[in-house]
């Protein structure tokens, strides 16, 4: 199967080279979307063999993933995977997830940190993610165990049905809403997020304010 792994990156020069190198085990096309970085993210990604798409200004993770996915869809890839640029996702997990598509008839496979495996991240993050899960269940009736997880794979042919409008982190929730609305076959996969010193220094995401935004979007019937 022809697989495109979309890696949205904003000022990730410290990690992007390693991430792209590690993804080589997946035997797929690596598409890094440089979201207006001011450092050498694009150059390093290219040197390590990735195809780089560049946003001239920073739009947000959702926008970068949309551009990359659009490219993969236009270029007739079979599967589109979303993978973080800060080294938190494991290429081995992605490989295992891709294998599931060879045997199972699923439209989308979502990574989950909360399927029984231990969580090594900061406690604050765990609380926020758990709250996000409850919030998604109550407000949006989404039954997924980790709605804010950025690791996902979906068949390219469903991209027009799930194309998201949010440029920021709300795209995670929006994608899940589209999957549900279109009654697509979705499964979850237990994965481990690797929290290291580098990723811990970055802003805690998702922010609590995202909950308010989800509520607002739901009120306006945009989700």
């Amino acid at each position: 199967m022809n697989v495109a792994v979309i890696v949205p990156a904003f000022n990730e020069s410290r990690k992007i080279g390693e991430v792209v190198k590690n993804l080589a085990v997946c035997d797929c096309s690596i598409i890094v979307v440089d979201d207006g970085s001011e450092d050498e993210t694009a150059k390093i990604a290219e040197q390590n063999g990735a195809l780089v798409l560049r946003h001239e200004v920073n739009l947000g993770q959702g926008a970068a993933l949309r551009t990359g996915s659009q490219y993969a869809y236009q270029n007739n890839f079979d599967l589109i995977a979303h993978f973080d640029a800060d080294g938190q996702h494991s290429a081995e997990d992605l490989k295992k997830m891709l294998n599931i598509f060879k045997t199972d008839k699923v439209d989308a496979l979502l990574g989950s940190r909360f399927m029984g495996q231990s969580f090594s991240g900061p406690i604050v993050k765990k609380i926020i993610l758990k709250l996000a899960k409850i919030f998604s269940k109550l407000i949006l009736q989404l039954q997924y165990s980790d709605p804010q997880n950025g690791l996902r794979i979906f068949r390219a042919n469903i991209f027009p049905k799930i194309i998201w409008q949010n440029d920021d982190y709300l795209h995670c929730t929006e994608i899940l809403c589209h999957l549900k609305k279109n009654d697509l076959a979705v499964k979850e996969f237990p994965m481990v997020v690797l929290y290291d010193e580098y990723s811990s220094t970055k802003k805690v995401k998702p922010k609590v304010s995202m909950g308010l935004k989800i509520f607002w979007e739901k009120l306006l019937n945009r989700l």
């Binding site: 560049r54 946003h55 200004v57 739009l59 659009q70 440029d167």
Partner: protein, 113 residues
């Protein structure tokens, strides 16, 4: 006539002059010109006949003329903020589409090379 009234006349006159100038230069449309003109004419009327605003306030059930002005000003400010917010959101969307299209175009051009 008080000094304050004279200042208001100058400010209103200048604003109307600027509106006419911008209309002639086609920097604003007729709708916006009409809106500005009516706002400043309203200010001038109140300036010359201060009691008229009290009469207007009483007729809509508000005690003091000043209160009516404050309520109207707040309504206008909220409306302007709302419109500005919508305009910014619309612009953000357009920029997002443009930046994305540009990235895809460059990537496809690179592929052809």
């Amino acid at each position: 006539m008080t000094a304050f009234q004279i200042i208001i006349i100058f400010i209103s006159g200048y604003s109307i002059f600027k509106s006419v100038y911008k209309l002639i230069k086609k920097e604003i449309g007729w709708a916006l010109f009409a809106l500005w003109l009516s706002v400043w004419l309203f200010v001038l009327v109140i300036n010359f006949f201060p009691l008229s605003i009290t009469w207007l306030a009483n007729s809509v059930g508000i005690g003091r003329g000043v209160d009516l002005i404050v309520y109207l000003a707040l309504l206008i400010v909220f409306y302007v903020i709302f419109k500005t917010h919508l305009r910014i959101k619309c612009l953000e969307k357009k920029i997002s589409r443009l930046v994305s299209a540009q990235a895809l175009k460059k990537a496809n051009e690179k592929k052809v090379e």
